[in-house]
């Protein structure tokens, strides 16, 4: 992150603190440094959901979304930003990216500020296709629900949970290999795997309850 990458954690915290206390120069630099982080996370999230955009001006929606995320990051004297704890392993940019992705997910899912939620979604497509082959329907429905599940998972997972999910289920590492690569015990990894699948089960139930469907 420009201007902050080379600085120590203490320097970054001091910088953020002074910016939040009204140092205009540092605030400008902080915004310039954070903008690309928030921008790329928001852009990725919009690309994943672009089937919902239905011809809207993506760029305008993106810029609005980035602004909403900034409002959340800096709200109440920058409480969210002040929660960065370098001892937890994430760089400041990584932490901001994590917060941004979660906020974007919330904003787009809950519809509080999502212009796309009023548009027809996959649900309507499913109705339209209802006369088609059941196997096709199931595949479309399954994919749609997996998309929703993945968005909720991104929103809900902690940084560490994301790391373990990625190792175990994206990179398909064995528990032993994931434990070796993270310096964690196998027992801890098994516990994490159990927590992750439990969370998935809860999210599936949430979606099922929200939408009256089975995943």
């Amino acid at each position: 992150m420009a201007g902050l990458d080379e600085r120590s954690a203490d320097e970054i915290q001091e910088w953020v603190d002074r910016a939040l206390k009204g140092d205009a120069e540092r605030m400008d630099a902080l915004v310039a440094a954070l903008a690309p982080v928030v921008h790329t996370r928001a852009a990725r999230a919009m690309l994943r959901r672009k089937q919902q955009s239905r011809g809207r001006d993506l760029r305008t929606d993106l810029e609005d979304l980035v602004q909403e995320v900034f409002a959340a990051l800096f709200a109440r004297e920058g409480r969210a930003l002040r929660q960065w704890d370098p001892s937890r392993g994430l760089s400041f940019a990584g932490f901001v990216g994590f917060l941004a992705e979660r906020e974007v997910g919330m904003l787009m899912r809950t519809g509080k500020r999502n212009p796309w939620t009023e548009d027809p979604t996959m649900d309507d497509r499913l109705v339209y296709l209802s006369g088609q082959d059941e196997g096709v329907m199931e595949r479309i429905e399954s994919r749609d629900l997996l998309d929703r599940l993945s968005e909720r998972l991104r929103e809900r997972l902690s940084p560490r949970g994301r790391q373990y999910f990625s190792l175990l289920y994206v990179e398909n590492m064995s528990v032993q290999d994931a434990a070796d690569s993270t310096g964690t015990t196998k027992q801890a990894l098994y516990a994490w795997r159990s927590r992750l699948t439990k969370m998935l089960r809860e999210l599936r139930n949430e979606i099922e309850s929200d939408e009256g469907r089975h995943v």
């Binding site: 990051l73 920058g78 993945s150 992750l196 998935l200």
Partner: protein
Amino acid sequence: MSDDDVAYQLGELMTEQEQQIDPRLERLALGELSDDEMSALLRDAEQDEKLAEAVSLFRPLGADVQAKLTTTARTSSAKVRRLPWVGAGVGVVLAAAAAVLLFSTAGVEAIPQYTFKAEAGDAIWRSEAKPKSRTLREDSEMSIVSQPARIASGKIDGALWVVTADRAVRSPVAPEVSVNGAVRWLGVARELSAGQTGPVKFVAFVGRANAFPEPDERGGVTTGNGWQSFELSVEIQPLGAAP
């Protein structure tokens, strides 16, 4: 489909989503593409509608947007002042006035009936329904708002307690009190809970400060002389430990 099957399918989906994003796009957003790389990307985008759409999303934010972000950051981070706020919904208050219950007390000025509403993430709890326990992350933004059925007269105060299995402590988050007598607490869950994680019960009191009992002195009732209360049980997960 088993939980593990779903997890592996999600893993595949995330890999697929990642592979669909051209690796040059992130560098485009960061302004790190050379002129040659930029020309090549734009040429490719001319032949590929999806890539063109992605390029429109990832091209760097303009100076006008940066200026708006700076304004947003300054405005949002400005120190919160305890000014009168108008969240008490006076119209609703007046409409409901006929149904107001007054709790007359000996030596304590009566207060109007209050309703309570708590929010954290997409979870909402209301005093009208028995609140269900939910799991929150310690960094979840949370609010507890109590509104009077009519404008409250006299000084109204609030007290938020955090009750765990072995103790009850006052939350360090001070309530904000509107001119209408509405009371609210805002903060992240960890602040509201005084740093407590795990199973936590919030007990919010509104009314006359000198009338507030301690949580375990209420004998199971939610209203008393000059006070009303609301309970909410949650499980607060530490950020590092939550999956």
